[in-house]
């Protein structure tokens, strides 16, 4: 029993439903291996710090997973490798998955708030 953070970046020039399709695929695979999806975070369309496969932006998704065996991770990564929509993915083994929104989402909320407050100030 181990916890993983599985982040994927999906190319920006696909219909937005692709994000859900990929998430669905991951969910199916996790289910097959009797794992659990503890949380899912959509970071939305972000600008990449550098171009990946000539893309400057990408849809980020973070999955907090609880899996029983490493073979599930292998299978997930293999599927992501074959997928044309996923331009980058990363699995990180973590001690626990916090229920709170991650730093990225907090930063996003902060930026949105600043935008709202902007005209007033």
């Amino acid at each position: 029993m181990a916890f993983y953070e599985f982040t994927t970046i999906i190319r920006p020039d696909v219909p937005t439903t692709t994000v859900e399709t990929v998430s669905g695929k991951i969910a199916d695979m996790v289910k097959k291996h009797k794992g659990k999806i503890i949380k899912t975070e959509q970071w939305g369309l972000r600008t990449l710090a550098y171009a990946i496969k000539k893309h400057r932006k990408g849809y980020y998704t973070l999955h907090g997973l609880q899996l029983n065996d490493a073979s599930a991770v292998n299978e997930l990564e293999y599927a992501m490798k074959l997928s044309d929509d996923v331009i980058r993915f990363m699995t990180v083994k973590v001690d626990e998955i916090s229920k709170e929104p991650s730093a990225i989402l907090k930063a996003k909320a902060r930026a949105e708030e600043a935008e709202l407050m902007g005209p007033q100030a």
């Binding site: 710090a49 730093a103 990225i104």
Partner: protein
């Protein structure tokens, strides 16, 4: 009490302290005259060197009770430990302890993998453009000079 000369006071000699300071670095009552003559070969404890000695010492931001967590997703925190070119700052500048510097490096590596942080940042593009323009101008001037020289050479040959 005999009036024999006082033994040299070592900084760790707590038995002779006034019992006011709790730790090694606590501010004890300063002895008069200790700041005055700075002797080269004498042993000076941090306490004798005064406040300036401590002002530069900041603890590791990732250790201790109020430590920030090192997280590869926290771009804002990680970018504090990058140089202008996107390199990881050395420990002697950031004050991070050795163990945490390792963790920090791993976190930055992960953030770079996810394109949250860059591997390299270009130095100021405007300045770079200016430099390039200067280089080009210099080259053009060199070429012009060379052409002029050649022209002169052919002229003298004729």
């Amino acid at each position: 009490m005999a009036m024999e000369p006082l033994p040299a006071r070592r900084p760790n000699d707590k038995s002779k302290g006034k019992g006011k300071g709790k730790g090694k670095f606590s501010k004890g009552p300063r002895k008069e005259g200790t700041d005055g003559g700075f002797k080269k070969d004498a042993k000076y404890s941090p306490r004798l060197l005064g406040k300036a000695y401590f002002q530069r010492r900041r603890g590791c931001p990732f250790s201790g009770p109020k430590a920030t967590k090192i997280d590869y997703k926290d771009v804002r925190m990680l970018s504090k430990y990058l140089s202008d070119l996107g390199k990881i700052l050395p420990r002697h500048l950031s004050g991070v302890c050795a163990a945490k510097q390792g963790e920090l490096a791993t976190a930055i590596a992960r953030a770079r993998m996810l394109a949250l942080l860059p591997f390299v940042l270009k130095a100021d593009p405007a300045a770079e453009r200016e430099q390039r323009n200067e280089r080009i101008a210099a080259r053009v001037a060199r070429f012009a000079e060379r052409d002029a020289q050649r022209a002169r050479a052919t002229e003298s040959a004729e």
